[in-house]
Symmetry: C2
């Protein structure tokens, strides 16, 4: 199933969300709009806005301005953090284009990131719900903590374990996806049980989403994924495909790989190739995909708490899509 | 008058604010706390929290948790943007110490900046006022726009005029200082007239504050100011001391300076010395200080709207301090 088929049901609301995003990135300062537009006009699946809109609709709210404002606000939050990530990671590509830090440099990229976070916040504020602001601001600090955790692992400031890898994923990706579905439920003024169920659903597909992202970094076709593969390995980010492969390898191989990963200099292309082969051989990608599927099963289970309707159906299909996507 | 004498009257509340700040920068991720603490533990005058507390007290609110949370929240917002500024400006010093980007690098500095913005937001949220969140989020997007405006001037993407220089100041500094005094007034549930008066007061001392900062960059003794002087010129930021000097210089001198500022390469030390002498000779610093005093007069005028009390007296003295400070 294509992603566009899954979200067809909320198509008019997503189109409204696009207009709202465009309205809110306009600035008296032309360069700000130009840079923000460059990222936000360049595609992206709009998973988070889709989750806000599907969740609110699944709980019975299918019209009104607040859903649109919240969906647009969370996407602006997400986009602001992408700008900061690209500076932090010295990324070269984003969504198949040269990333903003390459086109405009780090300075405007950091600042337009801040601008988008602030405008996202103004949109969330416009919904008039303090509870919503609490959820979004909490997600936002968890996100920042997640990226610092990741850096600590690159600098070997921390012992890497499976738990640690999941903690990074939980903070840096699941937090904002969980926030999207929780936001949708909160806007619909639904029961606490339904809010918890959708928040749980979001948390689990958020983890699955990142697991697949980490898997694709080892195996996707470059032009489909929209960014260079092998990036995590080049930056020596310890993600689960690599972690599981190392755990599965015999002691001698394991020791050699860890030595390579621990050396001071950048990895050269033969070392990267060697470790990639190890990941393929010891099935780290398969295992990661398998874990992702478990989280998707868990996510779909929580949907049982929500009354049957077409939007809930779409949330179920979206969960499957997350685990099966190839780019 | 020393700054510490002016704020003596709110000393216990400021001490509470410090404890609140420390509580809110604690993180499960030890490195996050360490970096945040490095900046926030390293001094700083706490002008914004002082303004929140003095403004709310001048309007009759002298106790309760909200004043403290808002004061701490706005300081965290400010600190988060300082982290981003230091990355953007490749600063070497902050408050007399090596800046965070030098000690930990750009990556964690950007991210801990995001973390502090998010935690500041959580503090503002805890005050339970949507109006407050509106004021803070608006200030926060103006701040980011201000820094992009500044970059546009460095890249000569825009015609520099006196108005342009004031627009940068208005966005990048006055917005958050105005937000501090407005926040204090809003928390006190005072009349609309008093909110407007304190907001106007904050706007004007905010502009004066930045004008003096820009002046000090040309004339302060380095160890007092806590950062290297001459930085604005080295980065070719067009601030008012330079702008006024160029305007006052004879046509030939003017043309030569603009040529130097417009060249591709970095300025060398003899060029910096030459332009610094021009600023001294054509009285750019004096003129900037004179303008700052005008804004302070305007600020003090708005205090007439507030009933007489000791806190209002302190706000008046704080305005004078802003225009007269030498570091």
């Amino acid at each position: 199933m294509e992603f566009s088929d899954i979200i067809e049901i909320i198509h008019p609301s997503l189109a409204e969300t696009e207009r709202k995003i465009d309205e809110f990135i306009k600035s008296d300062v032309p360069l700000v709009y130009e840079i923000a537009k460059y990222l936000l006009g360049g595609g992206g699946k709009r998973i988070r806005p889709s989750l806000v809109l599907l969740s609110s609709a699944a709980c019975g709210l299918t019209d009104g301005e607040n859903r649109i404002a919240a969906a647009a606000g969370i996407e602006l939050f997400h986009a602001g953090t992408l700008f900061h990530d690209d500076v932090v990671d010295q990324a070269e590509f984003r969504r198949g284009n040269a990333s903003s830090n390459i086109v405009w440099g780090n300075k405007p990229t950091v600042l337009v990131g801040d601008f988008m976070l602030a405008r996202g916040l103004e949109l969330i504020y416009s919904c008039g719900s303090l509870e919503l602001l609490r959820v979004v601001s909490r997600a936002s600090s968890r996100l920042a903590e997640g990226h610092v955790l990741e850096i600590m692992s690159e600098r070997k400031m921390i012992e890497i374990s499976e738990d640690f890898c999941f903690s990074v994923i939980d903070h840096k990706t699941a937090a904002l996806i969980e926030c999207s579905t929780e936001t949708g439920a909160l806007l619909a003024n639904t029961s606490n049980g339904a809010v918890r169920a959708l928040s749980h659903y979001g948390h689990n597909i958020g983890i699955a989403f990142q697991l697949i992202d980490d898997a694709l970094d080892y195996c996707s076709e470059e032009n489909k994924f929209g960014k260079k593969t092998g990036q995590d390995l080049a930056e020596r980010k310890m993600t689960l495909p690599l972690y599981y492969s190392i755990e599965n390898a015999p002691e001698g191989v394991k020791r050699k790989v860890i030595e390579t990963l621990d050396k001071e200099d950048d990895l050269d292309s033969s070392e990267i190739a060697e470790i990639s082969q190890l990941v393929a051989h010891y099935r780290g990608v398969d295992l990661t995909r398998k874990r992702a599927k478990e989280f998707v099963v868990e996510a779909k289970k929580s949907l049982d708490e929500i009354p049957q309707n077409d939007y809930k159906e779409s949330l179920g299909r979206l969960a499957d899509y997350v685990a099966e996507r190839n780019f």
